[in-house]
């Protein structure tokens, strides 16, 4: 099927023009098309949350969106959050509180929490558990992640 699509999209503040097959998932476009491999691909059916990115500022599952659907829109991936030399306070808190072991779920959790912490600057533990309930972690058992979110909230205030 001759079937290509000219995609214009802004990712982490940079504009891209790419030709894509419409069936390309946004997660695969980010990783394979743009080389932004910080977005992880877990279940590919919207359950694990590893592929969460911000679409126009809101967390969405990038494995449930086709690349052409983000035409003209703004994406932010974990690469847009900070760099190794200049980490976001949320990333600093995750490092400080040992909130990651293998790190597979971390990008999805960070992108889920970034807008959430702005709306909920003083969260309770229950609220944090609720906020990350769409993100599976198979290593740390969540407690350190919750500690990190509390720490991040303190430091970001």
């Amino acid at each position: 099927m001759d079937n290509t699509y000219e995609l214009n999209v802004t990712v982490n503040g940079t504009s891209y023009q790419e030709t894509v097959d419409p069936r390309t998932l946004l997660s695969d476009f980010l990783r394979d098309g743009l080389g932004l491999t910080g977005t992880h691909v877990g279940c590919e059916h919207g359950v694990c949350g590893a592929c969460t990115v911000l679409l126009n500022g809101e967390p969405v599952r990038s494995c449930l969106i086709f690349a052409p659907q983000v035409q003209g829109q703004e994406i932010m991936t974990v690469e847009g959050l900070g760099t190794v030399d200049d980490m976001h306070p949320l990333q600093e808190a995750f490092r400080e509180a040992h909130a990651l072991q293998c790190g597979f779920c971390t990008p999805g959790i960070l992108t889920t929490l970034l807008p959430w912490l702005e709306e909920n600057p003083n969260p309770t533990e229950d609220e944090i558990r609720e906020a990350i309930s769409g993100n599976l972690c198979r290593c740390t058992g969540y407690q350190h992640i919750i500690d990190a979110v509390k720490l991040a909230a303190e430091q970001m205030n």
């Binding site: 099927m1 079937n3 097959d21 695969d28 809101e58 449930l64 052409p68 889920t112 309930s133 769409g134």
Partner: protein
């Protein structure tokens, strides 16, 4: 876990959508929020030849009041409805339902119209819209028509819409004065598919006699499952704890038809239905009394 190839269209107006649906018929699927369709495509459970993406049609995303009820464009996203003050005021059951649906990432993308057109019997909106006696506005090239919820859902993942039809609007009528409502469900983890759930609406007259009762169940059969016999036990009476227990027993034992799967047995689902019916009716009753 990659979808099969398809031809992609992103029309910018409703007439363009209707033209495409008319041209491609059964080969085409409408892509709304995609939160049910895309997983099914990734699993290759469905392989539509044509996808008609309706995300670039801004005029399908409105929320407005009408005759004290609300009308929602089919592309209103769950998170938009969740935060909307008109819905909170005029359709409080919808407002209360929203946070119980899936995760925030799904609610940011999933749409009201998409969930209803998908007609999953475990979807909260399917049972809530049935309990609220919502009407669905459908358009095709020949014109438009309204379908009541009771005639819209016709089976497992099936509606009475034809391939050339587009769901454009959901109309939620206001509840009569003296009405209370509730949605209760049980899921293994927050935001998972619910093992069982019930939407209940009660209306009381000035003497607190029940004039109308509706209970509709999710994950209890091939569609939204109503319990009219249990509801009739309540209508015409002053609602007591004993009556609530009797109605819950009736609905859970005789009127629902839950299946067994790896998540729960049918017997456990009936048990949950009984408990949830009591809780939902108690909450709806209290709200109906408070409203007077």
């Amino acid at each position: 876990m990659k979808p099969a190839p398809f031809k992609y269209y992103a029309p910018h107006s409703i007439p363009e959508v209707l033209d495409l649906l008319n041209e491609h018929g059964y080969d085409a699927k409408i892509l709304a929020g995609g939160q049910s369709l895309v997983p099914m495509m990734n699993f290759r459970l469905v392989q539509p030849a044509v996808l008609v993406d309706i995300n670039f049609i801004p005029e399908l995303s409105y929320i407005e009041t009408h005759d004290k009820g609300v009308r929602l464009g089919a592309m209103v996203r769950h998170s938009q409805a969740e935060k909307d003050t008109l819905i909170k005021e005029h359709a409080p059951l919808i407002h209360e339902t929203m946070p119980q649906i899936a995760t925030v990432q799904i609610r940011n993308r999933g749409t009201i119209g998409g969930s209803l057109a998908h007609a999953d019997p475990s979807a909260e909106l399917v049972v809530v819209s049935t309990a609220l006696e919502a009407q669905f506005k459908i358009q095709n090239q020949k014109g438009e028509r309204l379908i009541p919820a009771s005639e819209f859902f016709v089976g497992l993942l099936m509606t009475s819409m034809e391939p050339e039809d587009l769901l454009v609007e959901v109309q939620i009528p206001p509840l009569p004065s003296g009405s209370g409502w509730s949605l209760k469900e049980v899921a293994r983890r927050p935001h998972d598919f619910a093992l069982m759930g019930v939407a209940a609406i009660l209306t009381l007259d000035k003497k607190e006699i029940c004039t109308e009762a509706r209970m509709v169940y999710l994950s209890a059969g091939d569609g939204p499952i109503s319990a009219p016999e249990a509801a009739n036990m309540l209508i015409g009476n002053k609602i007591t704890n004993e009556l609530i227990t009797a109605a819950a027993d009736k609905a859970a034992a005789d009127e629902i038809d839950p299946g067994s799967d790896i998540h729960a047995t049918a017997e456990f689902r009936r048990h949950l239905a009984n408990v949830l019916t009591r809780r939902a009716l108690e909450e709806a009753l209290q709200r109906a009394k408070d409203e007077k």
